[in-house]
């Protein structure tokens, strides 16, 4: 049995499809949240998941790095089957960056501490190396000068950018974003979306749960509309957002875009 939990890739060239989800079901007690999801994401893709609250989009995202354990189905990330009990989930997670709605920065550590602790403890990088990579990651989000601050002293937008840098410092193959601008004051949303947009332009594989229709429309390669635990419609943003075919997608977008 291989030590790193690797399994033979499902299909030849599976590494070009870093996220493969097959017939995924997830229930919380009697509540069925995901009802048979199939999803493939190619390397370098930026995929936005939209949909009403309670549609299961965050749960789907959390299944990708095994924060939620699927009830049935398969989740294959970077060629590793996370649903295989022998899979070393911790190792696979190193390659998956995740950014949360509420930032979840470590309050007892400085900004630099936040972006170095996993490098030191998980990747066993030396202090100087971790520091250098951490500072580089902070530079990418434009916050290198805040390295010695504590998270509490930063604005929400800055905290979220540090959270992105914390993931980037692990050199992930892909990034998951879970409604990362929903807890921000409106004037701070732009700076976070800007960082995400530049990541997308650099070719990062991104799975983004969002309510920001403008971002989905302008940055996503593909948009997925979810409702009631199922993928209702998916395709390029011009199709799903501008010209939705499905009635439920139309209803949702009418409600969301009313403000525009």
């Amino acid at each position: 049995m291989s030590n790193d939990g690797s399994v033979a890739p499902e299909t030849p060239g599976a590494t070009d499809t870093p996220i493969q989800i097959h017939d995924l079901y997830k229930s919380f007690g009697d509540l069925e949240v995901l009802k048979g999801i199939d999803l493939h994401i190619e390397r370098g893709d930026v995929v936005c998941i939209i949909g009403p609250s309670g549609s299961g989009k965050s749960t789907l995202l959390r299944c990708v790095n095994h924060l939620e354990v699927p009830t049935s189905g398969r989740v294959i990330v970077d060629g590793f089957d996370l649903t295989d009990p022998d899979c070393d989930v911790d190792k696979v997670r190193r390659g998956i960056g995740m950014v949360f709605q509420l930032f979840n920065l470590f309050p007892q550590l400085t900004v630099l501490g936040n972006v170095t602790i996993a490098q030191r403890r998980v990747l066993k990088r030396r202090k100087a190396e971790a520091r250098e990579i951490g500072i580089q990651a902070l530079e990418r989000v434009g916050l290198a000068e805040k390295a010695d601050e504590y998270p509490i002293n930063l604005s929400g937008g800055q905290q979220q950018r540090v959270a992105i840098a914390r993931s980037l410092a692990m050199n992930p193959d892909m990034m998951l974003f879970d409604e990362v601008t929903s807890a921000l004051d409106p004037e701070l949303v732009g700076e976070v979306l800007g960082v995400m947009r530049s990541l997308a332009e650099e070719g990062m594989t991104m799975l983004v749960v969002t309510h920001e229709m403008g971002f989905a429309r302008n940055v996503a390669d593909r948009v997925i509309f979810m409702d009631d635990g199922q993928i209702v419609e998916e395709g390029p943003p011009e199709q799903v957002i501008v010209d939705p075919q499905h009635e439920r997608t139309q209803q949702f977008l009418n409600m969301v875009l009313e403000d525009y």
């Binding site: 924060l67 911790d90 509420l102 309050p107 998980v122 504590y150």
Partner: protein, 285 residues
């Protein structure tokens, strides 16, 4: 039209309201005043009665004898307080170490750990500290036929056991008070559960539980007085035992007062220091 009527309506309402309110308010206030005067008078009467009936001379001689008070020093500090602090230190650090392990077992996903930790806590919290100390001090040697080596070992061990159950519950509450997102963020960075606990969750939990932990420390310090039931030697007398011996020797209660002063000289700075640490920890958050 409605607007025109409104002010007059409002005025009459306010007038009526103030009349009745003021009427009741005055009598209420007067009643409160009468009660207060009554309490003052009663207190003064009690004080006068006590002052006249108590033999102040005898109280002063048996509790506040300056000569006997002075005689307690320096031994009450160099010997008794020292021993109290040694028992407290070993009891608390031992309790902290065991308590941390028990707390982590208590919330473990592994059922066998939980099944050990929960009854452990229930048992030791449910028994009087004195009984636990007696079991460790007398019960275990009777059962095993061996005495633990070291002057402080038995007492410290008993205190550590008592403290560990309470500390475990404090730590568990602290861990559960750390937002779930902290663990999720740590795990999503590739940390194992254990690593995330050690590096991220437990440090935050300890900040949260500084106040109840200080409380435990003070309680433990006072519980060291129970160690004297184990028949300690002269060398391991803690403050309470020292004072009791002093009272028996001198046939005077003044050593108790000296002991109280020494206890307070330790506990008050302790709680002050903890409050300071707590404030610092909160600022850093």
């Amino acid at each position: 039209m409605v607007r025109d009527q409104l002010p007059s309506d409002k005025n009459t309402l306010i007038k009526e309201g103030t009349k009745t309110e003021r009427g009741t308010a005055v009598s209420k206030r007067q009643r409160a005043k009468l009660v207060r005067i009554g309490v003052y008078v009663a207190t003064v009467l009690v004080l006068v009665f006590v002052g006249l009936t108590v033999d102040w001379q005898s109280i002063q001689e048996s509790f506040f004898n300056p000569e006997i008070f002075r005689e307690q020093f320096p031994d009450i500090v160099t010997q008794a307080a020292r021993n109290t602090l040694i028992f407290t230190f070993f009891g608390f650090t031992g309790g902290l170490a065991v308590g941390l392990v028990i707390a982590v077992m208590r919330i473990s996903s592994i059922r066998a750990y939980r099944w050990f930790a929960a009854p452990y806590i229930e048992l030791l919290r449910g028994l009087p500290a004195l009984l636990t100390i007696l079991i460790i001090g007398f019960g275990v040697p009777i059962a095993t036929g061996t005495q633990l080596p070291g002057r402080y070992t038995t007492g410290s061990l008993a205190l550590a056991l008592v403290a560990s159950a309470y500390i475990a519950e404090n730590i568990r509450a602290g861990i559960e008070a750390v937002p779930r997102g902290q663990m999720e963020a740590a795990r999503s960075l590739g940390m194992t559960y254990t690593r995330a606990m050690i590096s991220i969750v437990i440090p935050q939990a300890f900040r949260i539980i500084i106040p109840p932990l200080t409380n435990e420390l003070v309680l433990l310090l006072k519980d060291t007085s129970l160690i004297s039931v184990l028949g300690v030697t002269e060398a391991t007398r803690e403050i309470t035992r020292f004072a009791r011996d002093g009272v028996i020797d001198s046939a005077n209660a003044t050593p108790f007062i000296a002991a109280g002063v020494v206890y307070l000289a330790i506990t008050i700075p302790l709680t002050r220091a903890a409050a300071l640490i707590e404030r610092r920890a909160r600022q850093a958050r």
